[in-house]
Structures are given as C-alpha cells and as structure tokens.
C-alpha cells in the first residue's frame, strides 16, 4: 500500500514540475499562432523529459549520488564552475517568469497590477521553504495543481477536429512565418525539458533514501507523471488553437490567455485559469529556487536539506532566499512576464546540452549505475532532441530578436 502511495505522490510531484508558466505560455502561443501544427514538438519534448526524469531517479537510486554530486565528481571543478554560470542566469530568468506567473494570476483576480504582487509572492514562496519541509511542498502543490485539469476539460468541450489534431503530431515544415514557428518550437522544448527539474528530482530521491528497489516505481512515475503533465499542456494548446487561431488572435498578454477557458467554461473559466496559473507557477517557483540551491550546495559540498532548520544549512537556505528576492525585483520593475517567459524558455533550450550530454555520460558509466546502464534508445533520444533544441534555438533566438 505504501508503494502505491509513493507512486501516486510521485505523479503529483511531476505535475508541479511539468506544467508551469513556461508550458502554459508557450503551448498557448503555439496554439494561437499555428493551430495544431506544433503538436509534434510537445510529443518530442515529453519523450525526452520522460527519459531524463527516469534517469535522474535511477542515477540517485543506484549510485546514491545526486545528479550534481555525480557531475562534480565525474567532471571536476572546472566543468562545475563553468557550467554553473549559464545555468544560474537561465534559472534566475525562469524563476522571475514563474513569480510573474503567480503575480499575473493574482492580477486577473484582484485587478491590482502584477508589479505590486511580485514581492508578496516572493515572500509567500520563501516562507514555504523557510518554514515548511519537502513533503509539504510536494503534496500541497501537487494536489492543488489538479485544478489544471480545467485545460483538458476546456479542450474537450471545444470539440477539436480529431484528424487535424492527429496530423499535428507529425512534424511539418512551417507556413510563412518560419522564424516564429521555430522560436516557439524551441521555447516549448525549453519549457518541457527543464534542467532544474532533474536536479530537484534527484535530490528528492536522495532525501527520500531511494535504493535499487525504487527503480520500477521510478520508471512508472516518470512515464505516467510526465505523460499526465503533457496531456495538460496539450489541453492548453488545443484550447488555444480552437479559441484564438480561427480568429487570427496572437497571444501577447496573459489576460488574453485566460479567454481560452472563458469561452468554453464561462465566467468560472477566468477563475479556474487564474487558479491553475497561480498554483502551477507557485510550485515551479519553489522547484527552481530549490533546484539552484541544491546545485550550489552539492557542487561546493555544503550542508543542505529541506527537512531540517535553515540554521543547519545557512548557505543553502540563503541561496534560495537571494534567488527569489532578486528575481522578484525583475517583475516589480514591470518586465513583461509573458515575453520574459517565452524568452527564458528559449534560452533554456540553448543550454540544454550542457546538462544532458554529461548526464548521458554518467548514465553509461558502470562506476555510477552498474548494471542499470542506459539503453541505446534513451541515449539517442536525449542526445538527439537536446542537441536539436539547442541548435535551432541558437539560430531562432537572434532571428526572433531582430525580426521582433
């Protein structure tokens, strides 16, 4: 019975990590701009993230190392210091985007501008980490995150044409606006395949003292949890494709995104959208901030753990404190959260190989995973998809910035 409970909790956990501001914003923009045509990117991203999450759990269960511990050990000090800097910048921008997501949800409900919500949101999420523990964070966010099912309900109610949806699952070349198409494609990949998720997940596995017996439930959790998250993201894309695409509406503000739930669900749709956005972004805020604190603590060998007092891990606790506080400044200054989200997700895509390639090396090293090494399919999928995402992003970001 405890096993089933564990699996269920794991699935809830991955909802929090999968569907957040990035997935909601990019899937909505993709649906509005290109109908069902970017569906295949969602599939590609989901496949890649399933492999990577499963690998994070397996690495920790077998080697008893977190991903960051293993990377520092295997690739040394230079690698650690050099890859930490781009990772820190990207995570900081993503964190600001997540805080912006919660702030915007509060704006939708209260009418008070999102800038004013930046610090209240930052303090609220910080208090959760400072006072709470990992279990509370995971369970609370996961259960409340089920409100995001509203996207799926909306998508079903809008009766999307099945043949067009299925056709979108196959890769297709873009129509006229090629740059935006590819830029959105890499933003979706960056939103789904988030490195902070792997650092967070493998640290959770160590804090939960996983061993080889967890490999089966870990695989199940990764597949079911991530697929469930993907269904939610797909719901967002379908709803956006049905509501915005036929009318030629480009999604440029979060207030517009809310409309895709208002049309099928009526007035409650607005509140459901705000609730889903707030809860999922709140969860992601905690995960990004914690993920970065884990990377620092494990990279330098500091004390870390969420399950004891901040006084026992001062540096760890102050890393997430400073991350949250400084990222909130960006939102308080009035940076547009939607633009920031899409941009930070595309940047995530650029930096993906910095994490995924060494990760794959670890997963093929018998010194770490012994007989539980990766198969060639997992290797090929992760290397192929992350390199593809990075290369397209390197080309698409400058073009998008120049073309506007």
């Amino acid at each position: 019975m405890r096993r089933y409970l564990e699996v269920a909790l794991g699935i809830f956990t991955s909802i929090g990590g999968f569907l957040e501001v990035g997935a909601i914003a990019t899937a909505a923009q993709a649906g509005a701009g290109f109908g069902f045509r970017l569906g295949w990117v969602l599939v590609l991203g989901t496949v890649c993230v399933i492999f990577l999450v499963e690998m994070s759990g397996r690495l920790s269960a077998v080697s008893k190392h977190t991903l960051q511990d293993a990377m520092r050990e295997r690739f040394g000090a230079g690698f650690f210091l050099v890859t930490t800097i781009p990772g820190l910048i990207v995570d900081w921008l993503v964190l600001a985007a997540e805080i912006g997501g919660v702030a915007l949800a509060l704006q939708l409900v209260t009418g008070i501008g999102y800038q004013w919500w930046a610090f209240p949101v930052a303090i609220g999420s910080w208090l959760f980490l400072w006072k709470g523990n990992l279990r509370l964070v995971e369970d609370g966010v996961a259960l409340l995150g089920l409100v995001a099912l509203a996207f799926v309900v909306a998508a079903v109610r809008l009766h999307p044409p099945v043949h067009a949806v299925v056709a979108g699952l196959l890769p297709s070349l873009p129509p006229a606006e090629g740059t935006t198409y590819w830029f959105l494609a890499v933003s979706i990949l960056g939103a789904l395949i988030s490195p902070y998720l792997f650092f967070f997940y493998s640290s959770g596995a160590i804090e939960g003292q996983w061993d080889e017996n967890h490999i089966g439930s870990n695989r199940f959790t990764a597949i079911v949890g991530m697929s469930f998250g993907a269904v939610l993201a797909f719901g967002v894309m379908l709803a956006a494709a049905m509501v915005f695409h036929p009318r030629g509406i480009q999604v440029e503000r979060y207030e517009q995104v809310a409309l895709m739930l208002v049309e099928p669900l009526g007035r409650p749709g607005l509140y459901l959208f705000a609730a889903a956005l707030a809860v999922t972004c709140f969860g992601a805020t905690l995960e990004v901030a914690l993920g970065r604190a884990y990377v620092f603590a494990q990279g330098f060998g500091w004390n870390y753990t969420l399950n004891s007092l901040p006084t026992n891990s001062a540096r760890f606790s102050l890393v997430y404190t400073v991350m949250i506080g400084s990222a909130a400044v960006l939102i308080a200054l009035g940076v547009d959260p939607l633009a920031l989200t899409v941009f930070s997700m595309a940047l995530t895509a650029v930096t993906l190989p910095l994490v995924t390639l060494p990760f794959i090396v670890l997963m093929n090293d018998p010194a770490y995973v012994g007989e539980y090494r990766n198969g060639w399919i997992g290797n090929a999928a992760v290397v192929g998809i992350s390199l593809l995402a990075s290369l397209i992003a390197l080309v698409a970001i400058p073009l998008q910035l120049m073309g506007g």
Binding site: H65, R72, R74, A77, G78, W130, G301, W302, T311
Partner: protein, 120 residues
C-alpha cells in the same frame, strides 16, 4: 584506489555526517627512493579556484582575506584523519569551527538567526 576517481571532488563529511565540503585538492608527499604518498586532502575555495587558473586563485584569496569571516577558508585534512572512503569521504573531525565552515557559521549567526521567525 584511483586518486582522481575515488578521492578528488568527493564529498567530505565529519564524524556526525555534517558536510565539510568537496575534496578540492590532494596533497602528495614526495619521498627519496620511495613512491609518493598522500599527505592530506584540501577543502576550500582557493584550492578550487587554483584548478581553473592561478590568477583566479590569487584573486579569490585576496577577496576572502579582505572580506571573509576568518582566514581564507582553506582546510587541510591530514590523510591520517580519513576514516572511510565510500559514497562520501568520512573524516575524524568535527566540522563546526573549522575553516571550511567559516562562512556557514558566519551567515548562520549574523544573517539566518536574525531573520524574524526563524526556528532556532
């Protein structure tokens, strides 16, 4: 035993399991007519920076001496104190009060404990 695989960059923990840092450097003792042997392991930001570039190490050292809570944070642990080498390297020390924890303790006493509502 493989020095770079089993020792360098491994987590160091004290008697109670408190984390001291990573093995940022290994110090070998050269002996006439005999093979070199490990004299000590080193934990600390200056040692870590030296592996990137000596100039970075000099800059980190200057910065830490100027602004750091005490010393430059380098802890040299004699090899005789190493008790076990596994997932972590366990050493026969108490982390509290060592140079490797100077920042941790300073931040704990001067920042974390002063934040209102922090459980003590």
């Amino acid at each position: 035993m493989n020095l770079t695989r089993d020792i360098l960059d491994q987590q160091v923990v004290d008697r109670a399991g408190q984390r001291l840092g990573k093995v940022d450097g290994v110090i070998l003792e050269l002996r006439d007519g005999e093979p070199p042997r490990i004299a000590a392991i080193e934990v600390g930001p200056v040692t870590l920076a030296r592996r990137i570039h000596p100039r970075l190490a000099a800059w980190v050292e200057w910065w830490l001496r100027r602004f750091g809570p005490r010393s430059d944070g380098t802890l040299r642990i004699p090899w005789s104190k190493v008790r076990a080498i596994g997932v972590d390297i366990r050493v026969d020390l108490v982390a509290e009060g060592t140079a490797a924890r100077a920042w941790e303790e300073w931040l704990r006493d001067h920042v974390v404990r002063r934040i209102p509502g922090t459980p003590q």
